[in-house]
Symmetry: D5
Subunit: 91 residues, 10 copies
């Protein structure tokens, strides 16, 4: 099943720079692993924002929650989740 997810990132200024760099690197690796598995088929940057728009293709709502909850940047994100389905005009 498909979910549309937006993630707005706001890393606190006082986060230790090494922890920040490590968290961002782990986020990237985590995302790319899920992209390779086909669970995170699309991720786009929103112009001018520290935000992305993503599409997830997962087995269940529980799996969707577990993936998001485990994002290394999750504590610093505002997340919006919208369930999608097939559009009758899609070819």
């Amino acid at each position: 099943m498909l979910f549309h997810v937006t993630m707005d990132v706001d890393i606190p200024r006082d986060l230790d720079p090494a922890e920040r760099a490590d968290t961002v690197a782990r986020e990237k690796a985590y995302s790319q692993d899920l992209q390779r598995q086909g669970k995170w088929p699309h991720i786009w940057r929103v112009v001018g924002q520290y935000s992305n728009v993503s599409i997830f293709d997962v087995e269940s709502a529980d799996e969707m929650h577990e993936i998001l909850w485990a994002l290394p940047l999750f504590p610093f994100m505002t997340v919006q989740v919208t369930p999608l389905c097939r559009h009758p005009s899609a070819i």
Copy 2:
């Protein structure tokens, strides 16, 4: 260039049923033609809403506007347009 577009449709109750059916049919044909051209690569239905989330891949902002303005259902839509760019974590 890529745009993320949401379209919320609200067709007036008093629209003539034949005109309604014709407009919806023309909307579908118009969308599918643009999908086949590769300009409208994704369209999803939002669960429980008369709304879609779409991704467009067009030459310019002017082309994006012309495509949306010409949607048969445009007069009955609330449209939100967000410019996208490549995400640094995208594979």
Copy 3:
């Protein structure tokens, strides 16, 4: 899978009274049929509102959309859909 759905109803004043009564009756029958099937396990009235809060238990996001789209009162409703999953503290 579980969805939390709120439905706010606003039937236009100028709807023919017989059509109104028929639509409300069909809505009730439709809801009760889904309740009996176990797909709509909870429905509550919000105090002081022509609104309900409901829980649905369906096979997929597509089924959720089809159920909502087919509600007799759907054209007169504002619907909000929130996907749910198991809470770690639930017994």
Copy 4:
């Protein structure tokens, strides 16, 4: 009487980790005790959020307030309370 309650949790980053773990553990025990008593019949996680949707079945508005006020995580929660009643279509 029934209340629909949403709880959005936002634990401050600088809370002592031991205090955080203890508070979360006490919250879970407190919730499960009320679930076993039948006062908190439903709790669901909202997908992608540190939030829950809950249904409470209590004797009075005062009891509802006392239960929420005593939640170990209450100081870190945004709470919304909606009174419910029987829906005329409920079977």
Copy 5:
């Protein structure tokens, strides 16, 4: 139990004047009957608005809903309901 209720009234311009006058008169009688019963102990006009702020003292959430649902002006009102309880500083 106590509820705080706000009612914002917006009577459509095209309502028949006799029906309007009759509905407003029935609203007044209905309110005064409930005030005399002690179920609607307070009603105030909000300055500059066709709105009131009211306090209700009823047996249950179901009774609260039935009272509001039966207001002659209910179809033309936006209603907000907030459950109240005793304040620890109240004398």
Copy 6:
């Protein structure tokens, strides 16, 4: 003259516990004194919130402001003030 006032309290976590306890105690005494004088005839707790809904009966807008400004918890409150007048249906 009558004012409807809502007060939402948010005491900072890092306030010294003794100062917190003292401020809350002074708030209670201040409120009860005004209740006894008849200037603060109603105060209710909002269920599930660190908030109250109050009715004040004062000589003037200036007196209303002075009373609120002097609340011991004022620096930690979000306050909303609505002027009331007699409702034509009040008995």
Copy 7:
């Protein structure tokens, strides 16, 4: 006592032109009469809006309500009322 009032006017398109002209003329006369009495000491147009910002100086909240309720354009206005008092820096 002083009130700050904003009035946003939205006259329906289908109002009879003679009734519209008459209502606007009565509004002007009504306003100017209150200005001459000193009860409506300031009225300004908001640039680019069919709106005004006004200051009223009245005896009571009841008088403020009666003045606004009797505005010929009141049925077509959205009104916001804010009570004012003396500012400690005012000379």
Copy 8:
């Protein structure tokens, strides 16, 4: 002096088509005349909206209001006006 103005247009569906076409034509002529006079130096279309973003360079706030009030489409517009001044980083 400079003003930033956004105009969102919503022409009612039931406007007579000839009146609609005439109003739109007069709006265009009116705008182009002001552009030629240098009073309306910039006008852009917002992608996907029946809206524009404009910059005006006028003598006074009164002139700004008169220009907007006289727009042929003014009755069908939502207008936002923001006063601008020189930016210290502008070259």
Copy 9:
């Protein structure tokens, strides 16, 4: 030209008390100087808020900006600026 300005003040709790007192005193002197010059003809306190509503009468938008930017409390204010013009009903 006239501007309507609202200023909501929120001085951080951790500001040094002497700096706080000095800033508030400088704000008062600054305001009274501009009032005496006729540039700040009205300032009112909003009941129950650390806010004012003010009217400014200045030469230009640039002067308006410079006056606001130089307010001693400006870093702790949320400011809203609305340009005003003569109302056709003003006497």
Copy 10:
């Protein structure tokens, strides 16, 4: 292609004054360099705000994002980006 961008700046009070001054100076130089290149053709100050309204003329959405992301004050800004196109009434 053209973008309309608003930037609201909120520099934390506890930023080191030298770092603050340096960041603001680098922001100014960065902006003026892009203005000279023709990529940032307009920047205006919003009256009474630490905000600007800007127009950018860039090659692509990716270039727009890179320019904004590299603003020295970007971490302290709230940015809104709106794609523009040619208006049919523009001369």
